[in-house]
Symmetry: C2
Subunit: 313 residues, 2 copies
């Protein structure tokens, strides 16, 4: 079997729906994934930070991924997060994703121990790649120091690319620092290393500098408008479109991101259970949810067809 | 069944032995645990930070814990770490430890998401306690902000103690800040909340202020001398003994702690395989190991009987 085609475009780190008892809800999950693919997402970075993936056990992640594929979400559109603190968990989840035919995996560094060396991180990624041992594997490194506190340095990328060309396929840069994204683009983009911005705020700049798209939290709610910037980045009105999607994100960012995304989906899907988050996160208050959705509506924001999808479930 | 007696004294966060292929080695693990209990440790805080516990999968932890109990390590001397990022993992590991009869569990907060609220952390611990639902459960909260980056505040402890008196049994304070340990002692020690210092550097001060001992990395190599301070804290030479164990720790602390502990054990057990760590950690260089053990020996340091235990395995 050959590796799936590389993904480019807008990817959502898909929020994970829980029932009131905090168990994952595969039905709502499949529906949301299909809505995203039908409304602007080229791919789904399931089990990312905004998916509360690290609040799920390895078994819960594998069951949800299997549910997606079984229910007809194309595996070649999936880029599940598989980087865990434990090497053995990372190997298990990565091998599982490859076996299902996923386009790639988005891999956090092991994030419990702080101040670890590039040598230790290199060994972690190398062990995972070698133990999975599958030519179809495509690894996207996940740089998100504000949360993981463990960075993926340029030197580490260079070393991994040299040892595993083709397998090490790209990066999601969630540093929030455009200079860092630019440095990654300048160093590696021409060699076929795919740089995704970690927020749509940097999407236009990323495209203008050889990037491949963005993997962004608000891709969960605003994929259509973000995809217009991706498709139209060379158009005359690109800067205007970029300003608009940035403004929408800024409204959402006034609140804790994951709870806010779920409150928005709960509102537009007319499914209150969507608001549920797992500890240590806390859902928005009713007043916060109301203020957030009201402000979005004044901007003309909508999630077209979402309520209809939910109603027919 | 009733809950095991509360542990006090010196506990080691037992280092986890790996084979060259990075798989855990239950044989060496059992031997080291028995050596620790025979040489000064009152209890074993297996699966702590210095155990590389977060580099182990939940399954690996459960198999190792079962190996200890099956091989005759008394469960009432065990305080396994069971706090994970995923609520479902924490529940699973905690229920498993209680079922095996462990004295208590040492519980990290979920540590991936940063800047979370006390409300979210309260919900996490409350959910674990309620889902495990066993009167024998004794929870020791694990405050280690330099690594977890997620603190256990006094306000959170107060709220948990109020809701789960008896079950919430104590804390390990690895903040490295004596003022914080003192504040925990002043606020909660008299009510039967057991405060363990996270390093033997604070052992004497902790005992003088109503604490119950220490859970310390170097308990893996120097349990006898540390236990002398615990037993003799009211003796005239207590300050002198404290200075000595602090000085030994300071030698070890010149190097990355976990790699250093394993290098020391490898040397004194005459088992080179002990030096193995899992990524993202890196073992000491041969030169570092040699310098470390040489400096310890100039202090008269030894691990009595360790080589004999290994030789008879």
């Amino acid at each position: 079997m050959t590796a799936p085609k590389r993904i480019s475009g807008v990817l959502a780190p898909v929020v994970t729906p829980f029932r009131r008892d905090l168990s994952p809800d595969p039905g709502r999950y499949v529906r949301h994934c299909k809505w995203l693919l039908a409304n602007g997402c080229q791919g789904l970075a399931v089990f990312g930070t905004n998916s509360e993936a690290n609040s799920l056990s390895a078994e819960e992640r594998m069951l949800l991924l299997e549910a997606l594929v079984q229910e007809g979400v194309p595996a070649e559109r999936l880029m599940p997060g598989t980087g865990c603190c434990a090497l053995t968990d990372s190997v298990r989840l990565t091998a599982h994703a490859v076996a299902l035919g996923c386009a790639g995996v988005l891999m956090l560094p092991p994030f419990y121990y702080k101040g670890v060396s590039d040598e230790g991180l290199y060994r972690n990624f190398a062990e995972v790649i070698e133990r999975v041992g599958d030519a179809r594997l495509r690894v996207y490194l996940y740089h998100i120091p504000p949360v993981s506190q463990v960075p993926i340095t340029l030197a580490l990328i260079e070393r991994l690319l040299k040892r595993f060309p083709g397998t090490v396929a790209g990066v999601k840069d969630s540093s929030g620092d455009w200079n860092n994204t630019k440095a990654m683009l300048d160093a590696f983009a021409k060699s076929g290393f795919d740089v995704f911005a970690g927020s749509e705020v940097f999407l236009l700049e990323n495209m203008r500098n050889g990037g491949k798209g963005c993997i962004t939290a608000t891709g969960n709610i605003n994929p259509g408008a973000i995809n217009e910037v991706f498709k139209g980045w060379q158009r005359a009105n690109a800067d205007h479109m970029q300003k608009d999607i940035t403004a929408t994100r800024n409204v959402v960012q006034k609140y804790p991101m994951m709870a806010a995304l779920k409150a928005i989906i709960a509102h537009f899907a007319q499914e209150p259970e969507w608001a549920t988050v797992r500890p240590p996160l806390v859902e928005l208050t009713p007043a916060q949810s109301k203020a957030l959705t009201a402000e979005l509506k004044t901007r003309g924001f909508d999630m077209p067809g979402l309520a209809e999808v939910s109603a027919t479930a």
